[in-house]
């Protein structure tokens, strides 16, 4: 699928490692929770909750992939959490990590489609 001038893209494993490494630096301070415009009382509507769900799914297979997809696609990519995390916490880059997880899921599905 890749053209010659296209840089080698991360493999699925590398993407997973990058995502999980980012999440490991989260200190669970939850400072990002009230920042999230989609937060309406459920923790999974926040960056912290989305990251926790990604972690549990990738590491232990918890939750269905459809449910995970629903959670990460309900993020508005607004980076308000990321700004807060960068300033007060450990710079997990929550928004970028959520987007990276979308890319991981899409790539997995495309690979499955080819096999």
């Amino acid at each position: 699928m890749k053209t010659d001038n296209t840089q080698e893209t991360d493999s699925i494993k590398e993407m997973e490692t990058e995502i999980l490494n980012n999440i490991q630096t989260c200190i669970n301070c939850r400072m990002c929770v009230p920042m999230c415009p989609t937060y309406e009382g459920w923790i999974t509507q926040s960056a912290f909750g989305r990251l926790a769900a990604i972690n549990l799914h990738l590491k232990y297979g918890l939750g269905s992939i459809e449910e995970l997809s629903r959670l990460i696609f309900s993020c508005a990519n607004c980076r308000r959490c990321q700004e807060r995390c960068k300033m007060l916490s450990t710079n997990v880059t929550p928004t970028d990590t959520i987007i990276k997880t979308r890319q991981l899921l899409a790539r997995k599905a495309q690979e499955w489609g080819r096999n």
Binding site: M1, K2, T3, N5, T6, Q7, T9, M35, P37, T38, E40, I65, E66, S69, F73, S74, A76, N77, C78, R79, R80, Q82, E83, I99, R102, Q103, L104, L105, A106, R107, K108, A109, Q110, W112, G113, N115
Partner: protein
């Protein structure tokens, strides 16, 4: 265990991908691209190249589609909302540009493409030497990135870089924050040897206003609340330039919402991409943001991104709030006379 793409990526996002890859814009409308520039006589080559992007050019279709989608919901076709609907329309033989023409003709002007004309004129008035690529301008592909299609994004970015290079383009001025962030911050990560200089319109304007003696002035006083678009404030990290520009406009009073609701902490209005997969949530975000902005007591809401402007307009209409929503470009154009 194996899942198909549509089980892990919401269907509207899959449509967006198809539209960009097949039609070169996220809505998949066949193109009168560059039509907005027909009276401007912009050269193809200049010191800076104005990057118009898809948003302002196609926003009128989104509005038209949303209206059509709302009425189609009654006959059970509304589920894919705005994005996929152009496909649905195509399948059942409805000509989308003609619907939009009708919506537009029915007393509603196209308020979006005119912003491109104004922006280009503003740059010219400020003495910036700009050119335009016309139909050669590609889609930057940023929705591909956010929807999860990284490989397609990278392929598109590399293809686009070749186009820029072959046309001898070195410096871009973007107007749409998301396109500008994509071209400035993501392309260098994925395109080897990427060396284009990318600026956002408002930075250039702020700089030129400092360097020249031009003093923008409004005929009538305006009290506004400014909504920082996420892509401008937190992706491009541009929060001072629009404020410097606003401060330079005589007759303009800026009211800021609470400090934790503006600049880099600006609350998201939901306009950037949420509509595709979570329309109800998107609507709630818009209403909450408008409330924050109205609490400032301003009677005009100003932003600087086509998606935000459209979302804020829809939200104020929904709330039946008696406020105008405008793009900063419109105000500046008026103030520069």
């Amino acid at each position: 265990m194996n899942k198909s793409l549509k089980e892990v990526v919401p269907i509207p996002h899959i449509y967006i991908r198809g539209n960009i890859l097949e039609k070169g814009n996220m809505l998949g409308v066949a193109g009168d691209k560059a039509a907005w520039a027909k009276d401007l006589n912009l050269p193809r080559n200049a010191e800076f190249t104005f990057f118009a992007g898809c948003g302002y050019q196609f926003m009128r279709y989104v509005e038209g589609m949303m209206k059509a989608a709302a009425s189609m919901e009654k006959i059970g076709l509304g589920m894919e909302r705005s994005i996929g609907i152009s496909k649905v329309f195509g399948k059942i033989g409805i000509n989308l540009p003609s619907i939009t023409a009708k919506v537009t003709a029915a007393g509603k002007e196209d308020t979006y493409t005119i912003i491109l004309v104004s922006a280009a004129r503003i740059l010219q008035k400020l003495g910036v030497d700009i050119g335009y690529m016309y139909e050669d301008e590609p889609c930057c592909g940023s929705p591909l990135y956010y929807s999860g299609f990284l490989d397609d994004y990278i392929e598109n970015a590399n293809k686009n870089f070749e186009v820029f290079k072959s046309l001898g383009i070195q410096r871009l001025i973007g107007l749409i924050p998301a396109c500008t962030a994509s071209l400035r911050d993501y392309y260098p990560k994925y395109v080897e040897g990427y060396d284009l200089e990318v600026y956002h319109f408002i930075e250039v304007v702020a700089q030129r206003l400092k360097e020249t003696n031009i003093k923008p002035k409004l005929k009538e006083k305006l009290t506004i609340a400014y909504h920082d678009p996420c892509q401008l404030s937190r992706y491009l990290e541009i929060v001072d330039a629009p404020r410097e520009v606003m401060a330079s406009i005589k007759g303009l009073e800026l009211r800021e919402p609470d400090p934790e609701q503006c600049k880099q902490w600006s609350t998201c209005c939901g306009g950037g991409g949420l509509e595709a997969g979570s329309p109800e949530l998107c609507e709630r975000l818009g209403l909450r943001r408008v409330e924050e902005l109205l609490n400032t007591g301003a009677n005009v809401i100003v932003s600087h991104c086509p998606a935000c402007v459209m979302q804020l307009k829809r939200s104020t209409e929904k709330m039946k709030a008696d406020v105008n929503v405008m793009d900063l470009v419109e105000i500046l154009d008026e103030a520069l006379g």
